[in-house]
């Protein structure tokens, strides 16, 4: 086996062996696009209903050259990041409070569960009526969708806090505020990062839905407009861009999770 070869230091594993997982995954993606391109050799191609990778690539070039893609992404990124940031700032303290103060937890848990479990995108039209079609409306939609993972994970993180550490800080003269800052917040951080993986997906949905309903620019608006005018190639280019962003963000967080908490290696 390739792994055994490294032990005596003579032959290292081959490139293929070292990157096997990555190569297998990449191969599947390439095959998927190849099959997509090739299937239209068998079935008739109608550019009004479907597109294929070669046309999508051309659409990409078009969108990049005109600068439309970057403009739309920049517009959409504002409510995306603002809504997510607000979700962290509100969700984490609220979750910690719910986890630590038992009565607050019992009081709020049913309400939060209802909100978390229900498809809140249904509220999007209402939120647009309340807060308008601009950045505010979209930010509120993103916030509404992404705050609950933070609340629930922070609360679960507090439940998992080692009671001994609480006693240690108390015995050394620490008060309630010290417990929050020196024990609970650090214990909860890995849970918050895990929550942000879920929240990022929900926030993307929030941006797109907000822009589908009411907007004059933004990546969600672009998708819906290109659909309306049957520019399926450019519509797919925008959709694929959103998919790539989602993958990059969630994988980036996964990577940051491993890098940021070296002390978790021993747990």
């Amino acid at each position: 086996m390739a792994e055994d070869a490294t032990k005596d230091g003579t032959i290292g594993p081959t490139f293929a062996a070292r990157h096997r997982n990555f190569l297998l995954g990449g191969l599947a993606v390439v095959l998927f696009f190849a099959a997509w391109q090739a299937i239209f050799l068998l079935v008739p191609f109608n550019p009004l209903f479907i597109s294929k990778p070669s046309l999508i690539a051309a659409g990409y070039v078009d969108l990049i050259e005109s600068g439309d893609l970057f403009h739309d992404l920049a517009v959409s990124s504002v409510p995306f990041f603002a809504g997510l940031a607000a979700a962290v700032v509100v969700g984490v303290p609220l979750g910690i409070l719910m986890g630590w103060r038992v009565r607050v937890g019992y009081a709020l848990d049913p309400l939060m569960t209802i909100f978390y479990a229900s498809p809140l995108v249904a509220l999007a039209p209402l939120l647009v009526i309340f807060f308008g079609v601009g950045v505010w409306g979209k930010t509120i939609i993103v916030f509404t969708l992404s705050v609950f993972p933070f609340i629930f994970n922070a609360s679960a993180g507090v439940h998992a806090v080692d009671r001994l550490l609480i006693n240690v800080v108390r015995s050394l003269g620490g008060g309630e505020w010290d417990l929050y800052r020196k024990v609970m917040l650090p214990s909860v951080l890995p849970y918050v990062v895990a929550a942000s993986r879920i929240a990022v997906g929900r926030a993307l949905i929030g941006v797109l839905v907000g822009e589908f309903f009411a907007a004059s620019e933004g990546i969600g608006f672009a998708i819906s407009r290109f659909g309306d005018i049957f520019a399926i190639d450019r519509m797919f280019a925008c959709i694929l861009t959103v998919m790539v962003i989602a993958v990059v963000l969630t994988e980036g967080i996964r990577w940051a999770e491993r890098a940021a908490f070296p002390w978790r290696a021993g747990q």
Binding site: D162, L164, L165, N167, V168, V169, R170, S171, L172, G173, G174, D178, K182, V183, P186, F261, P262, W263, R264, A265, G266, Q267
Partner: protein, 256 residues
């Protein structure tokens, strides 16, 4: 005469939800002298750890009182510090930052905290490991950090709750020798809870045997072995006689 630390008829019953109440301590009396090394041995669940928690100020007794310098203990204070059996190190903090914890909570300035922590790292023999995280340390090293952290706030009394129980036998023997050295240098009063009779004799000026639950003081043995204690003293006839005597006192409580 008012003792240094006094426990007077300390009683405590735990009332866990949905389970029968447990009487941990039932009229426990104790006198501790300043600067002495006192060990407490007793059957499992006799309330010896509970007494340390009360003395630390984390738990309040149902009745009776614990006094230090004639003043009733009502909460944690910087004159007492605990070394916990399971170490209780903050996993996201380095060795140095773990040791600084108590000083940080007392709002001591950073430079001063660091100076104290660095001196203690050397005292407990962890030089070179200042920037390591707890998961990178062995059990013995973790407990050295626990000991240094307890010493950092310069308490008068060190409470040790089976501090070496989670360590393997050789590490435990080594830590006992180290603890005596540190005790000599730091000049603290030590209350040491253990299950091991040898450990109690080897370390202590006095050994208290507790009754089974609800715990009371059953008998106190004064250990007249000379100090500094040598490891070889563990195989002397005096040591073994003492061990047998304490075992016989303890045995009735375990068997009964």
């Amino acid at each position: 005469m008012t003792g240094y630390i006094q426990g007077r008829s300390v009683s405590l019953t735990f009332r866990p939800p949905n389970r029968a109440p447990v009487r941990a301590l039932g009229g426990f009396d104790i006198e501790v002298e300043e600067g002495e090394f006192l060990s407490i041995v007793g059957p499992s669940g006799c309330g010896k750890s509970t007494f340390l928690s009360i003395l630390l100020g984390l738990v309040k007794p149902d009745s009776g009182e614990v006094l230090m310098h004639g003043k009733r203990i009502s909460g944690p204070g910087s004159d007492r510090a605990m070394v916990f059996q399971e170490f209780g190190l903050l996993p996201w903090r380095t060795v140095l930052h773990n040791i600084e914890l108590g000083l940080e909570l007392k709002k001591v300035a950073r430079e001063k905290r660091q100076a104290v922590a660095e001196r203690l790292v050397a005292l407990v023999g962890l030089s070179g490991f200042e920037q390591h995280y707890p998961h990178e340390l062995s059990g013995g090293m973790k407990q050295r950090v626990g000991l240094a952290r307890a010493l950092a706030t310069d308490p008068e009394v060190l409470l040790m709750d089976e501090p070496f129980a989670a360590l393997d036998a050789q590490t435990r023997d080594l830590m006992q020798v180290e603890l005596l050295r540190i005790w000599r240098e730091a000049k603290k009063t030590v209350l040491f809870v253990t299950h091991q009779i040898d450990e109690a004799i080897y370390l202590s000026d006095r050994v208290m045997v507790m009754s089974k639950r609800p715990g009371r003081a059953k008998k106190i043995f004064t250990i007249k072995l000379p100090r500094p204690r040598e490891y070889e003293m563990r195989v002397t006839p005096e040591f073994n006689d003492l061990k047998l005597e304490i075992w016989n006192t303890l045995k009735d409580e375990i068997m009964a």
